[in-house]
């Protein structure tokens, strides 16, 4: 199952495609690779610090696979320059559009006035070709964030970069070295074409589908009955158990700080130092599982918010999330930073080393695990469905709406009446609420894997009120038609969601699909709760696992029009997007 298959891309060897070029990167000027960059190892994108910034969005030729392809970049680098701000300052960012199409930059996770949020159609009209838009706002937070385009597929083609905001006070976690580790999924293909292909055939890029050979192997190893049984539900429901990612390694080369695996991005250290690594998943569509074999990573921040330190061996970083970890290597040797994609079709890789030019073993990717019962059925799997009584009780303690739960199962799930049409291919009546599930492919892998249940914000919620009301939204889709939506209603048909200004409300998300969805609310933070309603951690992007129910509190204190969407770019484009109005 783990054998790489050949690629649809003719004339490009699998290895070259997945590994990329050692010397790849931004091909300056005449489409040539800058020799300095090639020989010295790829340097991190430039760092711009201060309060005034000039950012130029342009089209740049890059070469990661042996083919020179156009990218959309900021100041000519991919990723764009690291912007370093200071909490308490006012920043001014002049963004000039040198493209032939409208562009925009959204400051992901930054709380600011809505007209500075950079979403065309909601915040402003976008930045027209040749125009300069000036963003100006107060920086009232610190931590690791990022920025990216909110126009077309420009985020996929390179328009993104890291944001690091230094705290106004002393840092909680001092480190001797501080590196941004930006992950992303580069493709040589035109993302508009990827989207059309997915629309026509949603498994276009899935080269790991169940085969006759898999069946025979399972029948031999586990018996015919078992082999049939493990396929029964998926086959009945027409749900593909290998549907872990929409695109994957058949089209993607995974980059770490803009460097393909063969280029081996390297961060230096001296043994005994404390190193802060700021992981950012700037992918369009790829969820990564990150580990550094030989080192324990202590997670100290999630989505820019300090959390109680959690030592782990591995963490999953969904699209648009950020995690800061601290590592303390004591040996003078190289360590591999290994970020494999959730569908195990490729990885981004770099090295922590005492000096340039070293490399450590790169682990092989984990086996691909099929989506199982809990990813389709939620809490109904494994003979432990929840009782109507207890389920209702938990729900009742949540629900200040005081509306009796009419659902026959009493589990607190109430499907929208718009979930019964062609746009929805399944509904989960008893979703799981297990925040301590690391998710498909990471369960019981013998490593300590971070889960949402491990995260505790160190700063208490700024708003301690109980939620006054609850908004339940279901994450829905139809994989065969590649339609994605909330409550079965795509963005183009949807009314805005109204948050009443000043209210504290609970958002309940139920994932009625078999895919993970990183849900991002602009302009306001989401205080993630456990199943009992206790606030755990403050995040800007919340990954909802297949057949999972998650709730979080939001304080509607930022008036305006905001985007609210799945951060998988192709899901957002296909309709999993809502406007939130705070008024």
């Amino acid at each position: 199952m783990n054998q790489p298959s050949a690629l649809p891309t003719a004339g490009l060897s699998r290895r070259r495609f997945v590994q990329g070029l050692a010397v790849g990167g931004v091909a300056a000027g005449l489409g040539l690779v800058r020799p300095a960059r090639a020989q010295a190892g790829v340097q991190p994108p430039g760092v711009l610090a201060g309060t005034d910034f000039q950012l130029d969005v342009c089209r740049t030729q890059v070469n990661y696979t042996g083919r020179v392809r156009p990218a959309t970049t900021v100041n000519g680098s991919l990723p764009g320059p690291l912007l370093r701000w200071k909490e308490g300052s006012t920043v001014t960012l002049r963004v000039t559009n040198h493209l032939r199409e409208t562009t925009s930059i959204h400051w992901h996770g930054i709380v600011l006035p809505f007209d500075m949020d950079g979403v065309p159609g909601l915040s402003f009209d976008g930045i027209a070709p040749g125009e300069t838009f000036t963003y100006r706002f107060d920086v009232r937070q610190s931590g690791t964030y990022w920025y990216h385009a909110h126009s077309h597929f420009q985020e996929q083609t390179g328009l993104f970069g890291a944001l690091v905001i230094d705290s106004a006070g002393p840092e909680r976690h001092v480190a001797d070295r501080d590196y941004v580790v930006m992950l992303n999924d580069w493709t040589d293909e035109d993302p508009a074409r990827i989207y059309t292909r997915l629309k026509k055939r949603s498994d276009y890029y899935n080269f790991h589908q169940p085969t006759v050979a898999d069946f025979l192997r399972d029948a031999r190893e586990q018996g015919l009955g078992e082999a049939l049984a493990m396929r029964r539900m998926g086959n009945r429901m027409r749900m593909n158990p290998t549907d872990l990612a929409d695109v994957g390694g058949a089209a993607y080369t995974y980059l770490m700080n803009g460097t393909a695996p063969a280029g081996n991005w390297t961060a230096l250290f001296r043994p005994g130092e404390r190193i802060r690594l700021r992981f950012i998943n700037g992918s369009a569509s790829t969820i990564f599982d990150v580990r550094i074999p030989g080192l324990t990573m202590t997670v100290v921040a999630a989505d820019g918010q300090d959390v109680a330190p959690v030592p782990v061996d591995e963490f999953r970083i969904s699209v648009a999330e950020t995690y800061d970890v601290i590592v303390e290597p004591h040996e003078a040797r190289a360590y591999t930073l290994f970020a494999q994609s959730i569908d195990r079709t490729g990885y981004a890789r770099g090295t922590l080393a005492p000096r340039e030019g070293l490399r450590a073993d790169v682990p092989s990717m984990d086996a691909r695990v099929w989506l199982g019962a809990q990813d389709m059925m939620g809490a109904m799997h494994a003979g432990s469905p929840l009782p109507p009584g207890e389920g209702s009780k938990v729900r009742a303690s949540h629900d200040h709406h005081a509306s009796p739960d009419p659902s026959p199962a009493g589990r607190g799930v109430n499907h929208a009446r718009t979930e019964y049409g062609p746009s929805v291919d399944m509904r989960v009546d008893m979703p799981r609420t297990d925040l301590d599930d690391p998710g498909i492919g990471l369960r019981d892998n013998g490593r300590r894997v971070l889960t949402y249940a491990d995260l505790r914000s160190l700063d208490p919620p700024s708003d301690r009120r109980e939620p006054e009301r609850e908004i339940e939204l279901h994450l829905t889709g139809n994989m065969e038609r590649f339609l994605w939506s909330f409550d079965g209603v795509p963005f183009s048909d949807a009314l805005p969601i109204h948050f009443r200004k000043g209210e504290r409300l609970r958002v309940v998300l139920v994932n009625d699909t078999m895919m993970n969805h990183p849900i991002h609310l602009h302009g306001m933070f989401s205080d993630l709760e456990d199943a009992e309603g206790n606030v755990l951690v403050r995040k800007h992007t919340i990954n909802v696992q297949p057949a999972q129910r998650i709730s979080y509190r939001v304080t509607a204190d930022n008036p305006g029009r905001w985007a609210y969407h799945c951060h998988l770019l192709y899901h957002m484009e296909a309709g999993m997007f809502r406007e939130v109005v705070v008024s």
Partner: protein, 336 residues
């Protein structure tokens, strides 16, 4: 009386199969005007199992036994990380809605959270192509040379479409040539409309040429993906002079590797009344069972080889065509 009923029956049979798979189970109430238990159509087996069982159990596909005491909102640790190979062992008899299809129960949630707030139209919202863009597709499902005992020829089945994921317009053609002349061909113009997650209706016209005088038909049918991944298509035709016809197709894909795919395909054609001028008898006119093995060089291009067992029945066979035929085929499948 029997003739028009044939097409109507085909229509009903396929609609019933849609209902059986997609509609709510008994707990949720049946579709208005649709009696699951009464009509013969409703019990037409489509994918080989009882549609009643489908409605009540399969469509729900509830795993586990459902009789265990339930531990509350949080699942005990020992149940949490079940290996992904864990599977439902038996259908569950639980008073819940189906997981797929169906119609909303009366207490279904209202998805409108707008409080009546309306926002001005957006400018520059760069959802690149919109969330349900229109696009053109071309399916050359069969473009093949045929070698058979009675001689060789060529066959094709091609359709080009334009539309979004809910509504598409298709221009479709299927036919055969042998000995350098057109044996029979038809061309259809169809509007396809999504009615359920996995099912679409098709409505349009068909025109037959070759092999006798031309015939025109109004076409109506359903197509979609049945449980266990069977692609089904059922179309009824009504023409002038009380002519009726029906076409049923089913196919399946068996992946030997990610690129080597065996595709069994079954096609049945039936006519309400004999059409001697076109060499067609009444009733079931032909059955073709094909097996094509393709290699997807790219997703878009797949050469294949295969064999087709074909039988022509009754009147059709008597009209000068052989009863049985085995054809070797080789061709290319293109999907753009």
């Amino acid at each position: 009386m029997r003739r028009p009923a044939l097409a109507a029956l085909a229509w009903l049979a396929c609609m019933a199969s849609v209902q059986a798979q997609e509609m709510p189970d008994r707990h949720m109430g049946a579709m208005p005007g649709m009696d699951h238990h009464g009509t013969p159509a409703a019990s037409a087996p489509v994918d080989g199992h009882d549609p009643h069982a489908s409605a009540a159990h399969d469509a729900m596909a509830m795993p586990a036994d459902g009789h265990h005491p339930m531990p509350g909102a949080t699942i005990p640790a020992q149940h949490r990380h079940v290996p992904a190979t864990d599977h439902p062992s038996a259908p569950m008899h639980h008073d819940m809605g189906p997981m797929q299809g169906g119609s909303p129960p009366p207490h279904a949630r209202d998805p409108d959270y707008s409080d009546g707030v309306r926002t001005p139209p957006m400018h520059g919202i760069d959802m690149a192509m919109g969330d349900d863009p229109r696009f053109a597709t071309l399916h050359v499902d069969r473009l093949e040379t045929v070698h058979a005992s009675r001689g060789g020829g060529q066959q094709w089945e091609v359709q080009g479409g334009y539309g979004d994921s809910r509504d598409k317009l298709w221009l479709r053609s299927e036919g055969e040539r042998s000995g350098g002349r057109l044996e029979a061909a038809d061309i259809e113009l169809l509007w396809q409309h999504a009615v359920a997650a996995f099912w679409d209706t098709r409505l349009g016209v068909r025109s037959d040429t070759g092999g006798g005088p031309g015939r025109q038909w109004v076409a109506f049918g359903v197509q979609g993906l049945a449980p266990y991944w069977f692609e089904l298509e059922a179309t009824g035709y009504v023409g002038p002079g009380g002519r009726t016809a029906a076409r049923l197709r089913a196919d399946y894909e068996l992946l030997f590797t990610q690129r080597l795919v065996l595709q069994p395909e079954l096609e049945l054609n039936a006519y309400g009344k004999a059409d001697p001028a076109r060499g067609l008898g009444s009733g079931l006119s032909d059955v073709a069972l094909g097996l094509r093995l393709r290699y997807e060089v790219r997703r878009e291009v797949a050469p294949y080889v295969g064999g087709v067992w074909m039988r022509r029945f009754g009147g059709t066979a008597e009209h000068g065509r052989s009863g049985f035929e085995w054809q070797w085929v080789a061709g290319v499948r293109i999907r753009l």
